[in-house]
């Protein structure tokens, strides 16, 4: 049972604040009147709505389908009527709205027909499609579509499967509570993962500050017919980060810019495993999750919450108090401030942390970096945060990338230890999003260049084609005319042919002109008619003159 553990570099020991919310049992949050379900809850393409306004939907019915490979479906969390498909506030730091489906619940909570899946009899690819349609996504925070992670790929296999019960972030206890009360189901999910990935070495990593969870998981693992090793890892933030958990348990480091699967390891959160078991053994899509509501509330605790429930109802349930200074989704280290409490709980919501002045005193003003390198000592990704900060602040994103900006897991250890209280992570997030935006612009510019060049090529080609067509036409005309005199036995030169061509064209124009009879002449007086006649006569004369300009006797008639 005793496994050699390894130590990842850096990390910090913030106060844990876990017991506040673990002393009360899990409560099911009541059904809200309205569910607002965002279509972009996972990484990848947002789901596409498959219901219409006014349509009645049942609990668990798919309301938006996965769009592409890296995407996943969205389901109605309860039965009711779709009342809107529009932009609604979502839990995002920007405060910008996003496309959501709003369901007015009918209180009946009526399930759509659903049945367990016989996963062992199914084609793996078909099974993954089913999981995508059941809306499974990682519940540890990144919300990556699980079906994609459960695809070992054609050539790679995944000998090591790690179930992450680290939950290193302070205040959050939803994974802890889940392991205490649903250990069997979590391990049922593990069996399904093992089936899909073909893993032989299965480890569950749990921080040693959760003895109850460790006990319950160990006794559940002992009942299994395959080996699962439940390992207590030393509690140190961010030990529950996927890369840190891998290093602690196996001693292996995921190389920069690589995925853990490149070294044969896949990591899943315990919540994802539980959701997977519910999906396969009950046919239930991902429509609810455990959410820790804690911090500055009267009764900090964990709720089983339907996706789409507004956050403020949970805070009210837990007992809101005066002196609230803000709300974070997630923990104090990596959580994001919520601009609005009407926003719904989504698949990524593991914790709603209510802040107060006492619990979270405002940070003193940031001071200049004194280059003490404490941030570098704390960084678990072995980066140089002070340098990254310097480059990001100056907008020197190229250098920031050279310093492995994209290896930063945004854990916040550096900001936590910085004696100058610099919001370092904000600078990294800023730099990353700038780099992404620039790459997007670059792609757009490349597309524009390509289209512009093609247009020039097309215009050139059209010009050439037109010229060729004209030349060919002239050729045939000339041949036609040449054929007439040739029949008469006279040889015709090219110049003659041209002359004939012009003459023919003139004759045609002439004919057209004489065809153009005067209009609107029916109701004119005889005097007017006479005038017209005169004018016409003059015109004919002029025309004749024009044709024979060199005969002087006709100049003065």
């Amino acid at each position: 049972m005793s496994r050699e553990l390894f130590k990842f570099k850096g990390g910090v020991h913030p106060p844990e604040h876990k017991t506040e919310s673990t002393s009360r049992p899990i409560h099911a949050a009541p059904l809200p009147k309205k569910l607002v379900i965002p279509l972009r809850q996972h990484i990848g393409n947002p789901a596409k709505p498959v219901v219409e306004i006014g349509e009645r939907v049942l609990k668990g019915q798919m309301i938006a389908a996965a769009d592409g490979y890296i995407s996943t479906a969205i389901h109605a969390s309860s039965s009711g009527t779709v009342v809107a498909i529009d932009l609604q506030p979502v839990p995002h730091i920007s405060g910008l709205p996003d496309l959501c489906i709003t369901i007015e619940t009918d209180g009946r909570d009526e399930w759509v027909a659903h049945a367990p899946l016989d996963y062992q009899a199914m084609e793996p690819s078909q099974l993954r499609m089913q999981l995508r349609d059941l809306g499974l996504a990682g519940l540890g925070g990144a919300v990556f579509p699980s079906a994609v992670k459960l695809d070992p790929g054609a050539s790679r296999d995944c000998p090591t499967l790690i179930i992450n019960g680290g939950e290193c972030e302070p205040w959050i206890t939803c994974d802890d509570m889940l392991m205490r009360h649903h250990a069997d189901e979590i391990l049922q999910g593990v069996a399904i993962m093992r089936h899909l990935l073909g893993s032989t070495d299965i480890l569950v990593g749990i921080e040693d500050n959760k003895p109850e969870a460790l006990d319950s998981m160990r006794s559940a693992a002992a009942k299994l017919d395959f080996a699962v090793e439940v390992v207590a890892v030393p509690a140190r933030y961010p030990g529950g980060g996927a890369k840190q958990m891998i290093e602690t348990l196996t001693g292996k480091q995921v190389p920069s810019g690589k995925l853990s699967t490149d070294i044969g390891i896949q990591v899943f959160n315990v919540g994802t495993s539980y959701a997977l078991a519910r999906a396969i053994h009950h046919g239930e899509p991902l429509i609810s999750r455990l959410v820790t509501v804690t911090g500055h509330v009267l009764r900090p605790q964990n709720f089983e919450v339907l996706i789409g429930t507004p956050m403020h109802t949970l805070i009210t349930l837990a007992g809101d108090r005066d002196g609230t200074t803000g709300v974070l989704m997630g923990g104090p280290m990596m959580g994001v401030p919520m601009p609005d409490l009407d926003v719904p709980v989504v698949k990524a919501t593991n914790c709603i942390l209510v802040k107060s002045k006492e619990l979270f005193p405002p940070l003193p003003k940031a001071l200049p970096c004194i280059r003490c390198t404490r941030c570098a000592d704390a960084c678990p990704a072995e980066l140089q945060p002070q340098e990254l900060f310097r480059f990001a602040k100056a907008g020197d994103f190229g250098r920031a990338q050279e310093y492995h900006l994209f290896d930063c897991i945004e854990c916040g250890c550096c900001s936590y230890v910085c004696p100058s209280h610099i919001p370092l992570v904000d600078f990294y997030r800023y730099a990353k999003s700038e780099i992404w935006a620039r790459e997007k612009d670059k792609r757009a510019a490349d597309l524009a260049r390509e289209r512009h060049e093609f247009r020039q090529f097309r215009q050139e080609r059209e010009k050439k084609e037109k010229a060729e067509k004209l030349a060919a036409k002239a050729q045939t005309k000339r041949a036609e005319l040449a054929a007439v005199p040739a029949a008469e036995g006279a040889a015709v030169s090219d110049a003659d042919a041209k002359k004939a061509l012009i003459a023919a064209a003139l004759a045609r124009a002439q004919a057209k002109k004489s065809d153009a009879a005067p209009k609107n002449v029916d109701q004119l007086t005889p005097v007017q008619l006479h005038q017209i006649e005169e004018i016409e006569a003059r015109r004919t004369k002029i025309r004749e003159l024009a044709r024979k300009p060199l005969e002087p006797e006709e100049k003065n008639p």
Binding site: L96, D98, L367, K393, D426, Y430, E434, R449, R451, H452
Partner: protein
């Protein structure tokens, strides 16, 4: 003596052949500097720089016939990048060529459009679809916002709509506010 001359002559011929062959084999197409400059330009193809497109402007810069501060869509940042590439001092944008505007795409009011195809002919990136006597539509994803389709429209039914910030396009802001005190 003769042998030495012979060897040198042979060597000269051999090296000449190699050089000649590689000049053909590894020939660099076009003007490599202009290419690099073109890669920095935003490819709006708007002609505000005074040239009929980004590529001609890039070539003019490469030949030293145009300044680096004539591209408003590229903005100060574009000027900075060009200065870096060419090893010269960056300078402020030349106002005579216009000022940077928020990124926009053209929008055709389809109620007013008479289907004259004039805008289609003006669009430098073929981002307008439609045919004679049928209303036209902008392919927003391909519109560079160059505004070249505005003047030819006889009924003024095209307008430029700034791209609104939405979630997929949202960017983290520079945390300057908190950093006011930091030098």
């Amino acid at each position: 003596m003769l042998a030495a001359i012979g060897v040198m002559a042979l060597l000269a011929v051999a090296i000449g052949l190699v050089l000649g062959w590689s000049a053909i084999r590894f020939k660099v197409e076009g003007n490599p500097l202009a290419e690099k400059i073109d890669a920095i330009l935003p490819q709006t193809q708007c002609g505000q720089c005074g040239f009929p497109g980004c590529r001609p402007y890039a070539e003019a810069i490469a030949k030293g016939e145009a300044d680096i501060n004539q591209c408003p869509p590229g903005g100060e940042e574009g000027v900075k990048k060009l200065a870096e590439l060419l090893g010269v001092e960056p300078k402020p944008l030349d106002e005579a060529h216009g000022t940077p505007k928020p990124k926009s795409v053209a929008f055709i009011d389809e109620q007013t459009c008479i289907g004259c195809t004039l805008c289609i002919q003006a669009c430098p990136v073929d981002a307008i679809s439609g045919a004679a006597k049928q209303m036209h539509t902008i392919i927003a994803a391909e519109c560079t916002g160059c505004e070249l389709c505005l003047p030819p429209c006889p009924v003024d039914c095209i307008s430029m709509v700034p791209i609104a910030e939405d979630l997929p396009h949202w960017k983290w802001k520079h945390p300057v506010v908190m950093m006011k005190r930091v030098a």
